[in-house]
């Protein structure tokens, strides 16, 4: 039975690596699109590359240790192994080797990614093309653009919800807030995620690079309707974005009944 069991354990690295390889490289059935969603931001590739770096490093360790394990089980099966037991209590040299090597690697990993972290969360851009206030509330996203005067909290603020519109190729600075409980502003395609905390205003920034419409996900449990807190982000050209802002501002200030005044701009950007 020793052979059977070592085979079972040998399957772990084989199938494990296999699943990752299929998901990663085969953008076709059966695992169509079972990998990172399309990256449409200026800095998303940094995170993807870091992930791949660590995936390769850990993958090597994973395969090496799991294969060793399976091999030892096969080789030292009591029924098949005629050699005497190696009566030993350890090896100082080996311990030093397998302490220092991983320590150096891990330390390298830690230092290697600090810059990416700082870019994502510490070095706030000074040249934001648009500032938008995003507020989470049970269970919807509400947005506010500062309006023509460029200031929040004035009567010409432009209010909107659910479908965040931003211009392409410009730095978007989000003032993230929450009205009630924790939420999390997650843009899978921009590799952006930040919790919204009641009582705090947290800046979030990203630079979309492609025109289109993608999901805005709430990623922090916010109550029974957490799954319902579904949003979209629509990236438009600057001209389209400006026109859209004017359009919804006009709708918001409507004083006359008018078929087009029904606030509805859910159509995807051209």
């Amino acid at each position: 039975m020793g052979k059977f069991w070592s085979f079972v354990f040998f399957l772990v690295p084989v199938l494990g690596v296999g699943l990752f390889v299929v998901a990663m490289n085969f953008h076709s059935l059966p695992l169509l699109n079972h990998w990172f969603p399309e990256d449409v931001s200026a800095s998303g590739h940094v995170i993807d590359q870091l992930f791949m770096t660590i995936l390769v490093l850990t993958g090597v360790v994973f395969v090496a240790t799991e294969v060793c394990l399976a091999f030892f089980l096969w080789r030292y099966d009591a029924k098949a192994n005629r050699d005497p037991v190696r009566y030993m209590h350890g090896s100082h040299t080996l311990e030093v080797v397998w302490t220092v090597l991983p320590a150096a690697t891990l330390f390298f990993i830690a230092i290697y990614q600090m810059n990416a972290w700082a870019d994502a969360k510490i070095r706030q851009p000074k040249d934001a093309g648009v500032i938008v206030e995003v507020r989470g509330r049970q269970f919807e996203w509400r947005f506010r653009y500062p309006g023509p005067d460029g200031k929040f909290n004035t009567p010409d603020d432009i209010h909107w919800d659910t479908d965040l519109h931003v211009p392409v190729d410009e730095e978007v600075l989000v003032h993230l807030k929450s009205e009630d409980v924790l939420h999390s502003f997650f843009l899978p395609n921009m590799r952006v995620k930040q919790d919204a905390v009641p009582g705090m205003m947290i800046p979030v920034w990203f630079r979309p690079t492609k025109i289109g419409s993608w999901d805005l996900v709430c990623a922090e449990l916010c109550g029974w309707g957490h799954y319902k807190m579904r949003g979209r982000i629509t990236v438009q050209s600057r001209a389209d974005f400006d026109a859209w802002l004017v359009e919804i501002a006009n709708k918001q200030h409507a004083t006359q009944a008018d078929a087009t005044a029904t606030a509805d701009a859910a159509k995807p950007a051209k």
Binding site: M1, G2, A78, K79, Q124, Q138, F139, E140, R142, G147, F152, N153, T154, P155, D156, D157, H159, D161, T162, D163, H175, M201, P203, W224, G225, K228, M229, R230, G231, R232, A249, K251, Q252, H253, A254, T255, Q256, A257, A259, A261, T262, A263, D264, A266
Partner: protein, 566 residues
């Protein structure tokens, strides 16, 4: 050679000798049991009858499914009416008629204030026993009531009360079930023609109704259960499993009353109104925006909500009649009065027969487009103020308070403020002296009228009745709170148009009344009413409140925080 320990082979041999067949069987039985539990079949959905309405409408004892026993008083002497039909005698003696329904003794009708009605008997009751002897059919009941009665002594009548089932059957005959929105014809096949003749789009209803699944093509079915049912309930009763934990409660469509709409007073909302609520959501409540659903799915949902509302209102009218002891229409009468498909001008013929309940309800929906409130156009300057554009000097700097433009703006605000505190509009009595929505907080809206009617009762009785209502499925009653006008949250929409309509025609179902508007050409009298142009001043005032000093502290804090971050 050392002794080996216990190697795997030896161990296995010792152990396997202990495997009995029964053990294998036990293991398999356990697995089968577990799988059996997991494979339980789906329960059929129960569409709960509107028992709250039954209780509100009728005597408090009324339930729609029970087996009550009543003391039926008898007259002092035998009735003189005779003839072949015993109903004449029954009507004279007890004020009720019996019909022969599938061989059972069914009370066809009762007359108010006569013995049968005062004893609590209702139309549709099936008499099952009289004075302890069981009654199987109509002749037996007639015999017991007319021949074996001891005149002047009350008799014990036990009935099987199935009105709930009868009403359910009537609804089924017109509407099908909310899961299968089409009537079922006699041979059991679905028949959508009736609902079509009332102007419903069956395809839209079907894509909204029933269980959740998606076609291979990606077309989603069961939209209502997917997005709405857990709050609004599968029959649109506003009492889904989540409803009790929401503030405000989700809308109960069955009353046919909707708050935020473009139409006058108690009129039905237009299709576009419901579409706008679904698209924009109701800010400040748990109703989110469904903006990102495809438009065809939103259209289908609105159609389905109208269907549920018509079905619910029909049910309520039937229950009301039942509770009052009136006869209820036959399925043919109930479904009559159509077709009600609007013509090119959007007109439909009003049904005349009051038994055509469905047509009557549908008619109010079809006429909603004719009842839209179209506000008078505000001045150009007012339009700018409402859009947040402040008067400016030529160089773009804000105009000072003594410039003519700014003076006009401040004067408009002052007029609005005067109206807020004036007797015609009387806003402050509910919305409070400082517009924080704290003027009164003890009133109830239409959906809790039953609770309001208990205000006059002693507290102990009140709690008992509330508990009875809740046992029938009512949500725990809550007061209706006037809106905090400084919060900057507008449930019906933040457009000046929306606020104008709220002021002009009130909010249906709530204590918010329509403002009294002076007739055209009447002399201005602030005590009697306002002009439509003046309503814009009030809108202007209301819209300015979130930016006024009393509302400021959080904003200052916010500015401070933004400063820190920059």
């Amino acid at each position: 050679m050392r002794l080996s320990g216990m190697d795997g082979k030896n161990l296995n041999r010792t152990m396997t000798t202990h495997i009995f067949n029964s053990r294998v069987a036990l293991t398999l039985a356990g697995l089968v049991l577990a799988l059996g539990i997991l494979g339980c079949a789906a329960p059929p959905p129960k569409f709960r009858p509107n028992l709250v309405q039954a209780k509100t409408a009728g005597a408090e004892k009324v339930t729609l499914a029970s087996t009550p026993e009543v003391d039926l008083p008898t007259p002092d002497k035998a009735p003189v009416a005779g003839g072949k039909d015993p109903n004449a005698a029954l009507e004279q003696a007890y004020g009720m008629k019996l019909s022969d329904d599938a061989g059972k003794a069914v009370i066809e009708s009762v007359v108010a204030d006569k013995p049968a009605a005062s004893a609590g008997l209702m139309w549709g009751d099936v008499i099952t026993s009289i004075n302890g002897s069981s009654i199987s059919d109509r002749p037996a009941a007639v015999k017991a009531l007319l021949e074996q009665a001891t005149w002047g002594k009350p008799m014990k009548v036990k009935v099987d009360r199935q009105q709930g089932q009868q009403i359910a059957n009537l609804l089924l005959a017109v509407f099908g079930t909310p899961d299968h929105p089409e009537r079922v014809s006699a041979d059991g096949s679905p028949d959508p023609t009736l609902l079509k003749s009332f102007g419903f789009d069956i395809d839209k209803l079907q894509v909204s109704a029933g269980r959740v699944y998606s076609e291979q093509s990606g077309r989603q079915h069961g939209l209502y259960r997917l997005h709405c049912a857990h709050c609004h309930g599968i029959s649109g009763d506003g009492a889904g499993p989540t409803a009790a934990f929401l503030n405000p409660y989700p809308r109960d469509y069955r009353q046919g009353k909707f708050k935020f709409k473009s139409t006058l007073g108690a009129e039905k909302p237009t299709h576009a109104d419901l579409m706008r609520i679904l698209t924009d959501g109701v800010p400040g409540t748990a109703m989110p925006s469904f903006r990102i659903l495809p438009e065809n799915e939103r259209e289908a949902l609105v159609e389905y909500v109208e269907y549920l509302s018509v079905r619910g209102e029909t049910e309520i009218k039937l229950i009301d009649r039942a509770a009052r002891g009136e006869t209820i229409p036959t399925p043919a009468e109930l479904a009559g009065g159509g077709p009600l498909v609007p013509d090119a001008e959007g007109n439909v013929t009003e049904p005349q027969d009051e038994n055509n309940i469905v047509a009557g309800v549908v008619y109010t929906w079809r006429m909603a487009d004719k009842k839209i409130v179209a506000p008078v156009a505000p001045s150009e300057e007012m339009t700018k103020w409402l859009a947040g554009e402040m008067p400016k000097n030529a160089d773009g700097s804000p105009a000072s308070a003594d410039s003519p433009a700014e003076k006009r703006r401040l004067a408009s605000l002052a007029r609005g403020q005067a109206m807020f505190y004036g007797t015609a509009a009387n806003c402050f009595s509910c919305h409070g002296d400082s517009q924080l929505g704290d003027g009164q907080t003890t009133d109830y809206d239409f959906w809790f009228q039953w609770r309001k009617s208990l205000d006059t009762k002693p507290a102990a009785d009140r709690d008992k009745v509330i508990a009875e209502f809740e046992a029938l499925g009512a949500l725990p009653p809550r007061n209706i709170k006037p809106r905090d006008l400084r919060a900057g949250v507008y449930r019906g929409g933040r457009r000046p148009l929306d606020i104008y309509r709220r002021i002009f025609s009130g909010i249906n179902g709530t204590p918010m009344p329509a403002i009294s508007v002076l007739p055209a050409g009447a002399a201005p009298d602030p005590k009697k009413g306002v002009t439509t142009q003046e309503i814009w001043d009030l809108v202007h005032f209301v819209k300015s409140l979130p930016y006024q000093p009393l509302s400021q502290p959080p904003e200052q804090l916010e500015a401070l925080r933004e400063h820190q971050i920059q």
